[in-house]
Amino acid sequence: MTTLLNVKDLRAYYGQVQALHGLNFSLSEGSLTTLLGANGAGKTTTLRAICNMVRSSGTIEFDGQPLSNRSTENIVRLGIAHVPQGRGTFTNMTVEENLQLGAITRTDKGGIVADIERMYGYFPVLKQRYAQQAGTLSGGEQQMLAVARALMLKPRLMLLDEPSFGLAPLIVRDLFKILGQINREEKVSILVVEQNAQLALELADQAYVIETGRIVMSGAARDISNDENVRKSYLGY
Protein backbone atom coordinates (compact mmCIF):
# COMPACT_ATOMS: atom_id res chain seq x y z
CA MET A 1 0.00 0.00 0.00
CA THR A 2 1.23 3.49 -0.76
CA THR A 3 1.87 6.00 1.97
CA LEU A 4 -0.64 8.83 1.95
CA LEU A 5 0.52 10.83 4.93
CA ASN A 6 4.03 10.80 6.26
CA VAL A 7 4.96 12.75 9.39
CA LYS A 8 8.59 13.08 10.40
CA ASP A 9 10.04 14.66 13.52
CA LEU A 10 6.96 16.82 14.09
CA ARG A 11 7.35 19.38 16.86
CA ALA A 12 4.65 21.86 17.76
CA TYR A 13 4.56 24.84 20.06
CA TYR A 14 1.99 26.98 21.84
CA GLY A 15 3.95 30.14 22.55
CA GLN A 16 6.96 28.98 24.56
CA VAL A 17 5.43 25.64 25.44
CA GLN A 18 6.38 22.66 23.31
CA ALA A 19 3.46 20.28 22.87
CA LEU A 20 4.90 17.73 20.43
CA HIS A 21 8.42 16.39 20.77
CA GLY A 22 9.36 14.83 17.44
CA LEU A 23 6.46 12.71 16.27
CA ASN A 24 6.97 10.11 13.55
CA PHE A 25 4.11 8.26 11.97
CA SER A 26 2.64 7.40 8.62
CA LEU A 27 -0.68 6.44 7.20
CA SER A 28 -1.25 4.33 4.13
CA GLU A 29 -3.82 5.04 1.47
CA GLY A 30 -7.22 3.63 2.29
CA SER A 31 -6.41 2.84 5.89
CA LEU A 32 -8.30 3.75 9.03
CA THR A 33 -5.73 4.80 11.58
CA THR A 34 -6.31 5.86 15.13
CA LEU A 35 -4.18 8.03 17.35
CA LEU A 36 -4.79 7.24 21.00
CA GLY A 37 -3.69 8.89 24.19
CA ALA A 38 -4.79 10.56 27.38
CA ASN A 39 -5.89 14.15 27.82
CA GLY A 40 -3.12 16.57 26.92
CA ALA A 41 -1.01 13.95 25.17
CA GLY A 42 -0.93 15.99 21.98
CA LYS A 43 -3.56 14.30 19.83
CA THR A 44 -5.45 17.43 18.87
CA THR A 45 -2.21 19.32 18.39
CA THR A 46 -1.06 16.67 15.92
CA LEU A 47 -4.19 17.14 13.81
CA ARG A 48 -3.89 20.91 14.04
CA ALA A 49 -0.25 20.72 12.98
CA ILE A 50 -1.19 18.70 9.89
CA CYS A 51 -3.51 21.55 8.86
CA ASN A 52 -0.98 24.21 9.81
CA MET A 53 -3.16 25.67 12.54
CA VAL A 54 -0.38 25.67 15.12
CA ARG A 55 3.28 26.65 14.92
CA SER A 56 5.29 23.55 14.15
CA SER A 57 8.52 22.21 12.66
CA GLY A 58 9.41 18.91 11.02
CA THR A 59 8.07 17.56 7.78
CA ILE A 60 4.55 16.49 6.90
CA GLU A 61 4.06 15.02 3.46
CA PHE A 62 0.70 14.34 1.91
CA ASP A 63 0.87 12.14 -1.16
CA GLY A 64 4.52 13.10 -1.50
CA GLN A 65 3.92 16.85 -1.26
CA PRO A 66 5.27 18.78 1.72
CA LEU A 67 2.54 20.66 3.59
CA SER A 68 4.66 23.21 5.42
CA ASN A 69 4.36 26.72 3.97
CA ARG A 70 0.82 26.03 2.89
CA SER A 71 -2.06 27.86 4.52
CA THR A 72 -4.83 25.90 6.23
CA GLU A 73 -7.26 26.51 3.39
CA ASN A 74 -4.74 25.38 0.77
CA ILE A 75 -4.07 22.19 2.71
CA VAL A 76 -7.80 21.54 2.83
CA ARG A 77 -7.99 22.08 -0.92
CA LEU A 78 -5.51 19.22 -1.42
CA GLY A 79 -8.23 16.91 -0.11
CA ILE A 80 -7.68 16.84 3.64
CA ALA A 81 -10.96 17.30 5.51
CA HIS A 82 -10.62 18.12 9.19
CA VAL A 83 -13.50 17.68 11.60
CA PRO A 84 -12.27 19.70 14.56
CA GLN A 85 -12.88 19.18 18.22
CA GLY A 86 -16.26 20.70 19.03
CA ARG A 87 -17.35 19.89 15.44
CA GLY A 88 -17.03 23.40 14.03
CA THR A 89 -20.69 23.53 13.06
CA PHE A 90 -21.90 26.75 11.43
CA THR A 91 -24.64 26.97 14.03
CA ASN A 92 -26.52 29.94 12.59
CA MET A 93 -26.85 28.35 9.16
CA THR A 94 -29.11 25.58 8.00
CA VAL A 95 -28.09 21.94 7.77
CA GLU A 96 -28.09 22.12 3.99
CA GLU A 97 -25.98 25.29 3.96
CA ASN A 98 -23.47 23.51 6.19
CA LEU A 99 -23.24 20.73 3.62
CA GLN A 100 -22.87 23.24 0.79
CA LEU A 101 -20.05 24.89 2.71
CA GLY A 102 -18.30 21.55 2.86
CA ALA A 103 -18.26 21.58 -0.94
CA ILE A 104 -17.42 25.27 -1.30
CA THR A 105 -14.13 24.53 -3.07
CA ARG A 106 -15.80 22.32 -5.66
CA THR A 107 -17.22 23.58 -8.92
CA ASP A 108 -19.22 20.58 -10.14
CA LYS A 109 -22.76 21.74 -9.34
CA GLY A 110 -24.47 18.48 -10.29
CA GLY A 111 -21.98 16.46 -8.29
CA ILE A 112 -22.59 18.59 -5.21
CA VAL A 113 -26.35 18.10 -5.40
CA ALA A 114 -25.87 14.35 -5.83
CA ASP A 115 -23.41 14.23 -2.94
CA ILE A 116 -25.79 16.05 -0.60
CA GLU A 117 -28.37 13.37 -1.39
CA ARG A 118 -25.77 10.69 -0.74
CA MET A 119 -25.02 12.22 2.67
CA TYR A 120 -28.73 12.16 3.46
CA GLY A 121 -28.53 8.46 2.63
CA TYR A 122 -25.83 7.90 5.25
CA PHE A 123 -27.52 10.17 7.78
CA PRO A 124 -31.29 10.20 7.15
CA VAL A 125 -31.88 12.41 10.18
CA LEU A 126 -30.05 15.24 8.40
CA LYS A 127 -32.52 15.05 5.55
CA GLN A 128 -35.42 15.49 7.96
CA ARG A 129 -33.73 18.58 9.36
CA TYR A 130 -32.24 20.04 6.17
CA ALA A 131 -33.82 23.49 6.57
CA GLN A 132 -33.25 23.70 10.33
CA GLN A 133 -30.60 25.88 11.94
CA ALA A 134 -27.65 23.58 12.58
CA GLY A 135 -27.29 24.95 16.11
CA THR A 136 -30.62 23.39 17.06
CA LEU A 137 -29.43 19.85 16.29
CA SER A 138 -28.50 17.49 19.10
CA GLY A 139 -24.84 16.71 19.76
CA GLY A 140 -25.00 13.43 17.87
CA GLU A 141 -26.73 15.02 14.90
CA GLN A 142 -24.17 17.81 14.82
CA GLN A 143 -21.38 15.24 14.78
CA MET A 144 -23.06 13.48 11.86
CA LEU A 145 -23.39 16.82 10.12
CA ALA A 146 -19.70 17.52 10.73
CA VAL A 147 -18.70 14.18 9.18
CA ALA A 148 -21.06 14.73 6.25
CA ARG A 149 -19.72 18.27 5.76
CA ALA A 150 -16.18 16.92 5.68
CA LEU A 151 -17.13 14.28 3.12
CA MET A 152 -18.64 16.95 0.87
CA LEU A 153 -15.08 18.04 0.12
CA LYS A 154 -14.54 14.63 -1.54
CA PRO A 155 -11.47 14.27 0.63
CA ARG A 156 -8.74 11.71 0.26
CA LEU A 157 -7.98 11.95 3.95
CA MET A 158 -10.36 12.75 6.77
CA LEU A 159 -9.07 13.88 10.15
CA LEU A 160 -11.50 13.37 13.01
CA ASP A 161 -10.88 14.89 16.40
CA GLU A 162 -12.67 12.94 19.13
CA PRO A 163 -15.92 12.22 17.29
CA SER A 164 -17.23 10.38 20.37
CA PHE A 165 -16.87 13.40 22.66
CA GLY A 166 -20.06 14.15 24.58
CA LEU A 167 -22.18 11.56 22.80
CA ALA A 168 -24.23 8.72 24.24
CA PRO A 169 -22.54 5.30 23.79
CA LEU A 170 -25.22 4.00 21.43
CA ILE A 171 -24.87 6.99 19.15
CA VAL A 172 -21.10 6.59 19.18
CA ARG A 173 -21.47 2.98 18.05
CA ASP A 174 -23.69 4.03 15.14
CA LEU A 175 -21.34 6.81 14.16
CA PHE A 176 -18.31 4.54 14.20
CA LYS A 177 -20.12 1.94 12.13
CA ILE A 178 -20.80 4.60 9.50
CA LEU A 179 -17.18 5.77 9.64
CA GLY A 180 -16.06 2.22 8.87
CA GLN A 181 -18.54 2.08 6.01
CA ILE A 182 -17.32 5.41 4.63
CA ASN A 183 -13.72 4.23 4.84
CA ARG A 184 -14.51 1.12 2.80
CA GLU A 185 -17.07 2.47 0.34
CA GLU A 186 -15.77 5.95 -0.34
CA LYS A 187 -12.09 4.97 -0.23
CA VAL A 188 -11.43 7.81 2.17
CA SER A 189 -8.45 7.28 4.44
CA ILE A 190 -9.29 8.24 7.99
CA LEU A 191 -7.15 9.39 10.89
CA VAL A 192 -9.23 9.45 14.03
CA VAL A 193 -8.07 10.79 17.36
CA GLU A 194 -9.83 9.23 20.33
CA GLN A 195 -9.87 8.93 24.07
CA ASN A 196 -12.33 6.06 23.77
CA ALA A 197 -9.56 3.59 22.96
CA GLN A 198 -11.59 0.43 23.07
CA LEU A 199 -14.02 1.55 20.44
CA ALA A 200 -11.38 3.17 18.24
CA LEU A 201 -9.28 -0.01 18.25
CA GLU A 202 -12.28 -2.07 17.19
CA LEU A 203 -12.76 0.21 14.22
CA ALA A 204 -9.20 0.94 13.11
CA ASP A 205 -6.70 -1.22 11.33
CA GLN A 206 -3.64 0.74 12.43
CA ALA A 207 -3.01 2.44 15.77
CA TYR A 208 -0.53 4.79 17.35
CA VAL A 209 -0.35 5.59 21.04
CA ILE A 210 0.87 9.02 21.98
CA GLU A 211 2.04 10.20 25.39
CA THR A 212 3.23 13.70 26.30
CA GLY A 213 3.98 14.58 22.71
CA ARG A 214 5.76 11.38 21.70
CA ILE A 215 4.66 8.19 19.94
CA VAL A 216 5.20 5.40 22.46
CA MET A 217 3.56 2.52 20.65
CA SER A 218 2.45 1.62 17.17
CA GLY A 219 1.17 -1.40 15.34
CA ALA A 220 -1.88 -3.15 14.03
CA ALA A 221 -4.95 -2.16 16.01
CA ARG A 222 -5.75 -5.78 16.81
CA ASP A 223 -2.30 -6.45 18.27
CA ILE A 224 -2.48 -3.39 20.46
CA SER A 225 -5.91 -4.20 21.82
CA ASN A 226 -4.78 -7.78 22.52
CA ASP A 227 -1.69 -6.68 24.44
CA GLU A 228 -2.82 -6.49 28.03
CA ASN A 229 0.23 -4.56 29.22
CA VAL A 230 -0.27 -1.84 26.66
CA ARG A 231 -3.95 -1.65 27.41
CA LYS A 232 -3.39 -1.26 31.12
CA SER A 233 -0.48 1.13 31.06
CA TYR A 234 -1.54 3.43 28.22
CA LEU A 235 -5.17 2.98 27.41
CA GLY A 236 -6.66 2.44 30.83
CA TYR A 237 -9.15 -0.34 30.20
Binding site: S71, E73, R77, A81, P84, L101, I104, T105, R149
Partner: protein
Protein backbone atom coordinates in the same frame (compact mmCIF):
# COMPACT_ATOMS: atom_id res chain seq x y z
CA UNK B 1 -52.02 64.90 9.53
CA UNK B 2 -50.42 65.79 6.25
CA UNK B 3 -47.42 67.15 8.11
CA UNK B 4 -47.18 63.86 10.00
CA UNK B 5 -47.24 61.71 6.84
CA UNK B 6 -44.85 64.09 5.21
CA UNK B 7 -42.41 63.73 8.10
CA UNK B 8 -42.74 59.93 8.09
CA UNK B 9 -41.95 59.76 4.37
CA UNK B 10 -39.05 62.16 4.70
CA UNK B 11 -37.85 60.04 7.59
CA UNK B 12 -37.97 56.92 5.46
CA UNK B 13 -35.97 58.71 2.78
CA UNK B 14 -33.12 59.74 5.09
CA UNK B 15 -33.59 56.45 6.91
CA UNK B 16 -32.63 54.69 3.69
CA UNK B 17 -29.28 56.46 3.85
CA UNK B 18 -28.82 55.56 7.52
CA UNK B 19 -29.72 51.99 6.63
CA UNK B 20 -26.93 51.90 4.04
CA UNK B 21 -24.39 53.30 6.47
CA UNK B 22 -25.54 50.96 9.23
CA UNK B 23 -25.30 48.02 6.86
CA UNK B 24 -21.77 48.99 5.84
CA UNK B 25 -20.77 49.31 9.50
CA UNK B 26 -22.35 45.97 10.42
CA UNK B 27 -20.69 44.15 7.53
CA UNK B 28 -17.26 45.18 8.72
CA UNK B 29 -18.22 44.65 12.35
CA UNK B 30 -19.24 41.08 11.60
CA UNK B 31 -16.00 40.38 9.80
CA UNK B 32 -13.52 41.92 12.23
CA UNK B 33 -15.50 42.74 15.41
CA UNK B 34 -14.74 46.44 15.27
CA UNK B 35 -16.69 49.53 14.28
CA UNK B 36 -15.21 51.30 11.31
CA UNK B 37 -15.15 54.96 12.40
CA UNK B 38 -13.87 55.92 8.97
CA UNK B 39 -16.86 54.45 7.12
CA UNK B 40 -18.40 57.90 6.64
CA UNK B 41 -15.18 59.46 5.42
CA UNK B 42 -14.71 56.66 2.93
CA UNK B 43 -18.22 57.38 1.63
CA UNK B 44 -17.49 61.11 1.51
CA UNK B 45 -14.30 60.55 -0.48
CA UNK B 46 -16.17 58.32 -2.93
CA UNK B 47 -18.80 61.01 -3.34
CA UNK B 48 -16.09 63.56 -4.16
CA UNK B 49 -14.67 61.16 -6.74
CA UNK B 50 -18.06 60.93 -8.43
CA UNK B 51 -18.40 64.74 -8.32
CA UNK B 52 -14.96 65.11 -9.90
CA UNK B 53 -15.90 62.66 -12.64
CA UNK B 54 -19.01 64.70 -13.38
CA UNK B 55 -16.90 67.87 -13.47
CA UNK B 56 -14.84 66.16 -16.13
CA UNK B 57 -18.00 65.57 -18.12
CA UNK B 58 -18.88 61.98 -17.25
CA UNK B 59 -22.70 61.61 -17.15
CA UNK B 60 -24.32 60.92 -13.76
CA UNK B 61 -24.89 57.17 -13.97
CA UNK B 62 -21.49 56.62 -15.57
CA UNK B 63 -19.86 58.45 -12.69
CA UNK B 64 -22.05 56.50 -10.28
CA UNK B 65 -20.88 53.14 -11.63
CA UNK B 66 -17.23 54.13 -11.84
CA UNK B 67 -17.43 55.36 -8.25
CA UNK B 68 -18.93 52.06 -7.11
CA UNK B 69 -16.01 50.17 -8.64
CA UNK B 70 -13.50 52.68 -7.27
CA UNK B 71 -14.98 52.37 -3.76
CA UNK B 72 -15.02 48.59 -3.91
CA UNK B 73 -11.35 48.44 -4.90
CA UNK B 74 -10.47 51.20 -2.45
CA UNK B 75 -12.13 49.31 0.41
CA UNK B 76 -10.15 46.20 -0.45
CA UNK B 77 -6.94 48.22 -0.65
CA UNK B 78 -7.53 49.80 2.77
CA UNK B 79 -8.08 46.38 4.31
CA UNK B 80 -4.99 44.90 2.67
CA UNK B 81 -2.68 47.78 3.50
CA UNK B 82 -3.90 48.89 6.92
CA UNK B 83 -6.11 46.34 8.68
CA UNK B 84 -4.74 43.00 7.55
CA UNK B 85 -1.41 43.72 9.28
CA UNK B 86 -3.36 44.92 12.34
CA UNK B 87 -5.65 41.88 12.45
CA UNK B 88 -4.11 40.43 15.61
CA UNK B 89 -3.33 43.78 17.25
CA UNK B 90 -5.03 44.82 20.49
CA UNK B 91 -8.31 46.71 20.27
CA UNK B 92 -6.85 50.14 21.04
CA UNK B 93 -4.35 49.78 18.21
CA UNK B 94 -7.21 49.04 15.87
CA UNK B 95 -9.19 52.02 17.13
CA UNK B 96 -6.15 54.20 16.57
CA UNK B 97 -5.99 52.79 13.04
CA UNK B 98 -9.60 53.73 12.37
CA UNK B 99 -9.12 57.25 13.73
CA UNK B 100 -5.97 57.68 11.65
CA UNK B 101 -7.84 56.54 8.58
CA UNK B 102 -10.65 58.97 9.40
CA UNK B 103 -8.39 61.99 9.61
CA UNK B 104 -6.21 60.97 6.67
CA UNK B 105 -9.19 60.66 4.34
CA UNK B 106 -10.79 63.81 5.70
CA UNK B 107 -7.64 65.88 5.22
CA UNK B 108 -6.89 64.42 1.81
CA UNK B 109 -10.37 65.34 0.60
CA UNK B 110 -9.90 68.86 1.99
CA UNK B 111 -6.51 69.13 0.31
CA UNK B 112 -7.74 67.95 -3.08
CA UNK B 113 -11.16 69.55 -3.20
CA UNK B 114 -10.95 72.19 -0.38
CA UNK B 115 -13.52 72.71 2.35
CA UNK B 116 -16.02 74.92 0.55
CA UNK B 117 -19.54 73.58 0.19
CA UNK B 118 -20.41 72.28 -3.27
CA UNK B 119 -23.69 71.61 -5.01
CA UNK B 120 -24.25 67.97 -5.88
CA UNK B 121 -26.74 66.90 -8.54
CA UNK B 122 -29.56 64.43 -8.16
CA UNK B 123 -30.43 62.07 -11.01
CA UNK B 124 -34.07 61.97 -9.94
CA UNK B 125 -34.88 65.70 -9.99
CA UNK B 126 -36.49 67.43 -7.05
CA UNK B 127 -40.01 68.03 -8.24
CA UNK B 128 -42.98 66.61 -6.28
CA UNK B 129 -43.20 62.85 -6.69
CA UNK B 130 -46.25 61.81 -8.77
CA UNK B 131 -47.70 65.24 -8.27
CA UNK B 132 -47.87 64.75 -4.52
CA UNK B 133 -46.52 67.34 -2.12
CA UNK B 134 -45.65 64.64 0.38
CA UNK B 135 -42.36 63.53 -1.05
CA UNK B 136 -39.94 64.70 -3.71
CA UNK B 137 -38.70 62.62 -6.62
CA UNK B 138 -35.20 62.63 -5.15
CA UNK B 139 -36.49 61.21 -1.86
CA UNK B 140 -38.50 58.58 -3.72
CA UNK B 141 -35.47 57.73 -5.84
CA UNK B 142 -33.30 57.45 -2.74
CA UNK B 143 -35.73 54.99 -1.17
CA UNK B 144 -36.11 53.01 -4.40
CA UNK B 145 -32.40 52.74 -5.10
CA UNK B 146 -31.63 51.70 -1.54
CA UNK B 147 -34.32 49.04 -1.53
CA UNK B 148 -33.02 47.74 -4.83
CA UNK B 149 -29.51 47.52 -3.45
CA UNK B 150 -30.66 45.83 -0.25
CA UNK B 151 -32.61 43.29 -2.26
CA UNK B 152 -29.54 42.57 -4.37
CA UNK B 153 -27.41 42.11 -1.27
CA UNK B 154 -30.00 39.83 0.27
CA UNK B 155 -29.96 37.57 -2.79
CA UNK B 156 -26.19 37.65 -2.92
CA UNK B 157 -25.76 36.53 0.68
CA UNK B 158 -28.66 34.12 0.69
CA UNK B 159 -28.33 32.36 -2.64
CA UNK B 160 -24.80 32.58 -4.01
CA UNK B 161 -21.82 30.47 -3.10
CA UNK B 162 -19.64 33.52 -2.62
CA UNK B 163 -22.24 34.99 -0.27
CA UNK B 164 -22.37 31.75 1.66
CA UNK B 165 -18.57 31.68 1.92
CA UNK B 166 -18.51 35.27 3.17
CA UNK B 167 -21.13 34.54 5.80
CA UNK B 168 -19.20 31.47 6.92
CA UNK B 169 -15.94 33.40 7.14
CA UNK B 170 -17.59 36.10 9.23
CA UNK B 171 -19.36 33.77 11.62
CA UNK B 172 -16.71 31.10 12.23
CA UNK B 173 -13.34 31.89 10.62
CA UNK B 174 -11.60 28.73 11.79
CA UNK B 175 -14.30 26.38 10.52
CA UNK B 176 -14.43 28.37 7.30
CA UNK B 177 -10.72 27.79 6.73
CA UNK B 178 -11.28 24.10 7.39
CA UNK B 179 -13.68 23.84 4.47
CA UNK B 180 -11.14 25.61 2.28
CA UNK B 181 -12.37 29.21 2.37
CA UNK B 182 -9.72 31.89 2.16
CA UNK B 183 -11.10 33.90 5.07
CA UNK B 184 -8.58 36.68 4.75
CA UNK B 185 -9.81 37.53 1.25
CA UNK B 186 -13.41 37.23 2.35
CA UNK B 187 -12.74 39.98 4.91
CA UNK B 188 -11.16 42.14 2.22
CA UNK B 189 -14.18 41.53 0.00
CA UNK B 190 -16.43 42.55 2.89
CA UNK B 191 -14.50 45.83 3.15
CA UNK B 192 -14.89 46.39 -0.56
CA UNK B 193 -18.62 45.81 -0.46
CA UNK B 194 -19.06 47.96 2.64
CA UNK B 195 -17.17 50.78 0.94
CA UNK B 196 -19.35 50.48 -2.18
CA UNK B 197 -22.56 50.49 -0.11
CA UNK B 198 -21.29 53.54 1.77
CA UNK B 199 -20.53 55.31 -1.49
CA UNK B 200 -24.14 54.87 -2.60
CA UNK B 201 -25.25 56.43 0.69
CA UNK B 202 -22.84 59.32 0.13
CA UNK B 203 -23.96 60.00 -3.44
CA UNK B 204 -27.62 59.84 -2.44
CA UNK B 205 -27.36 62.14 0.57
CA UNK B 206 -24.99 64.66 -1.04
CA UNK B 207 -27.79 66.62 -2.81
CA UNK B 208 -29.45 67.05 0.60
CA UNK B 209 -26.53 67.90 2.89
CA UNK B 210 -24.29 69.37 0.14
CA UNK B 211 -20.83 68.14 -0.67
CA UNK B 212 -17.98 68.97 1.72
CA UNK B 213 -15.40 66.93 3.63
CA UNK B 214 -17.42 66.81 6.87
CA UNK B 215 -20.73 65.95 5.23
CA UNK B 216 -20.87 62.37 6.50
CA UNK B 217 -20.16 62.98 10.18
CA UNK B 218 -23.80 63.30 11.22
CA UNK B 219 -24.89 60.61 8.79
CA UNK B 220 -22.37 58.15 10.20
CA UNK B 221 -23.43 58.82 13.78
CA UNK B 222 -27.02 58.17 12.78
CA UNK B 223 -25.78 55.06 10.96
CA UNK B 224 -24.13 53.89 14.19
CA UNK B 225 -27.35 54.59 16.08
CA UNK B 226 -29.25 52.54 13.50
CA UNK B 227 -26.78 49.67 13.73
CA UNK B 228 -26.92 49.66 17.51
CA UNK B 229 -30.70 49.88 17.52
CA UNK B 230 -31.09 47.01 15.06
CA UNK B 231 -28.31 44.99 16.62
CA UNK B 232 -24.69 44.99 15.50
CA UNK B 233 -24.84 41.28 14.76
CA UNK B 234 -27.77 41.57 12.37
CA UNK B 235 -27.55 43.07 8.86
CA UNK B 236 -31.33 42.90 8.63
CA UNK B 237 -31.61 44.69 11.96
CA UNK B 238 -29.24 47.38 10.76
CA UNK B 239 -31.49 48.13 7.81
CA UNK B 240 -34.66 48.22 9.90
CA UNK B 241 -32.82 50.31 12.48
CA UNK B 242 -31.84 52.76 9.74
CA UNK B 243 -35.43 53.38 8.71
CA UNK B 244 -36.62 53.61 12.32
CA UNK B 245 -33.92 56.10 13.23
CA UNK B 246 -34.71 58.19 10.16
CA UNK B 247 -38.39 58.40 11.08
CA UNK B 248 -37.59 59.01 14.76
CA UNK B 249 -35.21 61.84 13.89
CA UNK B 250 -37.81 63.60 11.76
CA UNK B 251 -40.68 63.24 14.19
CA UNK B 252 -38.62 64.45 17.13
CA UNK B 253 -37.38 67.39 15.10
CA UNK B 254 -40.91 68.33 14.09
CA UNK B 255 -42.95 67.77 17.23
CA UNK B 256 -40.62 68.41 20.13
CA UNK B 257 -40.11 72.15 20.43
CA UNK B 258 -36.57 73.36 20.67
CA UNK B 259 -35.07 70.42 18.85
CA UNK B 260 -33.77 71.91 15.67
CA UNK B 261 -30.80 71.04 13.56
CA UNK B 262 -28.48 71.91 16.42
CA UNK B 263 -29.76 69.11 18.63
CA UNK B 264 -29.92 66.43 15.95
CA UNK B 265 -26.59 64.82 16.83
CA UNK B 266 -27.25 64.67 20.58
CA UNK B 267 -30.49 62.86 19.77
CA UNK B 268 -28.63 60.17 17.87
CA UNK B 269 -26.13 59.82 20.68
CA UNK B 270 -28.90 59.68 23.28
CA UNK B 271 -30.52 56.94 21.23
CA UNK B 272 -27.29 54.93 21.12
CA UNK B 273 -26.86 55.20 24.88
CA UNK B 274 -30.49 54.34 25.60
CA UNK B 275 -30.37 51.21 23.47
CA UNK B 276 -27.07 50.10 24.93
CA UNK B 277 -28.42 50.49 28.46
CA UNK B 278 -31.85 48.94 27.94
CA UNK B 279 -31.27 46.32 25.24
CA UNK B 280 -27.57 45.98 24.44
CA UNK B 281 -28.09 43.36 21.72
CA UNK B 282 -30.46 45.67 19.84
CA UNK B 283 -33.82 44.76 18.39
CA UNK B 284 -32.68 41.90 16.17
CA UNK B 285 -29.23 41.12 17.52
CA UNK B 286 -28.24 37.86 19.06
CA UNK B 287 -26.87 37.59 22.54
CA UNK B 288 -23.66 35.74 22.05
CA UNK B 289 -23.51 33.00 24.61
CA UNK B 290 -20.25 31.20 24.86
CA UNK B 291 -20.11 27.70 26.24
CA UNK B 292 -17.07 27.22 28.41
Amino acid sequence: MELFINQILAGIATGAIYACMALAVVMIYQAIDHLNFAQGEMAMFSTFVSWQLMQWGVPYWGAFLITLVFSFLGGIAIERVLFKPLAKAPILTQVAGFIALYSIINSCAGLIWDFTIKQYPTPFGSSPFLGSQLISTHQAGMIGLTLLMLLGLFFFFRYTRMGLAMRAAASLPESARLVGINTSWMIALGWGMAAAIGSVAGMMIAPVVFLEPNMMLGVLIYGFAAAVLGGLTSPFGAVVGGFLVGIFENLVGTYIPGVGNELKLPIALALIITVLVIKPAGLFGRHIVKRV
